[in-house]
Symmetry: C2
Amino acid sequence: MIDKLCDKIRKTGAPIVVGLDPMLSYIPEHMIKKAYEEFGETLEGAAEAVWQYNKGIVDAVYDLIPAVKPQIAMYEQFGIPGMIAFKKTVDYCHEKDLIVIGDVKRGDIGSTSAAYATAHLGRITVGSRTYAPFDEDFATVNPYLGTDGIKPFVDVCKEEHKGLFILVKTSNPSSGEFQDRLVDGRPLYEIVGEMVDRWGQECMGCSYSYVGAVVGATYPEMGKALRKIMPKSFILVPGYGAQGGKGKDLVHFFNKDGLGAIVNSSRGIIAAYKQEEYKAKGITPENYADASRMAVEAMREDIAQALG
Amino acid sequence: MIDKLCDKIRKTGAPIVVGLDPMLSYIPEHMIKKAYEEFGETLEGAAEAVWQYNKGIVDAVYDLIPAVKPQIAMYEQFGIPGMIAFKKTVDYCHEKDLIVIGDVKRGDIGSTSAAYATAHLGRITVGSRTYAPFDEDFATVNPYLGTDGIKPFVDVCKEEHKGLFILVKTSNPSSGEFQDRLVDGRPLYEIVGEMVDRWGQECMGCSYSYVGAVVGATYPEMGKALRKIMPKSFILVPGYGAQGGKGKDLVHFFNKDGLGAIVNSSRGIIAAYKQEEYKAKGITPENYADASRMAVEAMREDIAQALG
């Protein structure tokens, strides 16, 4: 799957992942109204609005991008109907040949991590049959529990040829509280980065390993250091756009082959229609997805310019 | 909810939480067969077996214990039907007046952490109505992302009078890879413990804060140090029984009031019927839940003896 990601980035010229993190407040009023008319003001109604909204965006951008990254929390908050909308989104993106990065930030130990890995990347046997429960292609994973927590995910990735992005240095302001603390004179995130490199050595694709890392666009200097520590790991870079990261900040996350990083934008793309810039171009809530397409094109341009 | 937890521990004399972490291999053959007959060898069939198995255990032990801790990964691996079984288990335990600790180990930043908090502890507004999606009473949370990740959970806990257990020192062998690394001469888990204490100061129950910690029974000396660092935090202690922790290891996790810790056992209780000890007492797969009751009683005795 890491090789497919490289191929698709080369073909689209867009090292971009669209974060499908819908909030009800992003969804155009007419779509909310229609969903509530059909399902009532229920969790089912909210989940239907989320799903229809996602579908519109995916239809508008799927040919421009290699991957999407649904943030499962945004679905989980609508309970079971939300989880059904998550699964429908994953399946629909696969129909459109998009790679799906499940932003699930799971992480536990032993058999529990194995169960999460099965849920999101693997297959489970029930009697004489097997099922792929949520069936994403990559999952984000939290490293705090150490190798015991990561190994079960790596095992499933090897079997299924899928991949991981391990949280190394997150994009948020307080990420330094623990991640930047000095251990033997070096920040903890570098120690985690070294482990990511090591975990990845046993499962390599053509040029990159199945084990990638999450490093926030908001910390470009740290990205530069981590790029060297994990030369064979793809970096998933959140924090571009709404969180403040710019195209020029991204340069150091890439390798010389022009690969090695994929940049996420969520709100800046999926809710682009709310920005004055796109309103001025004639975008209305009815054609919200056209703004998402324009925003992807602008982001591709911004990154291409930065990478020269 | 933390006050209710204290009350129930006092009433039952059992600082015990039963981990409802069902694996298909734990479930008696006759229950599996019945579920597959009704729903086929499907995710629905597996989820039905899990739910019926849980129900039997809850019916057998609910009057002896204050709380249960379903591990959501074990349900998530069965996809949507598994999540439905999780929710049914939570609701059924509430009917039996049990406190439900959702072992979800979620953690993200900002609006995403807020969405997880809403999903598991809070309520969501859909039009003019509100819903409690999964509705546990406590949730376990991963601290790696810092205060940005924890604060949205704390906010929901204040509003709903619910609580958290933050991962501080986990019970697994490799937990030390990052958690034990020395920061200014002190292990990282102590730094996290200090933050747990601080996060809890703004949301106190009668004697304990809404913000507790997870510290493994397998590391009693570290538990002793952490007990002092977080005097007002309840400690959720995994690793008793199957993972090797003994009653005597638990002493240091408790305060002098006899409270301050709640000890989890999963396999040792829910799959007790598979142990030779209980087979010798006439337990068969048909009355598996009776073994769970005996195992709870034995664990209560073991802890009471250790605490003197």
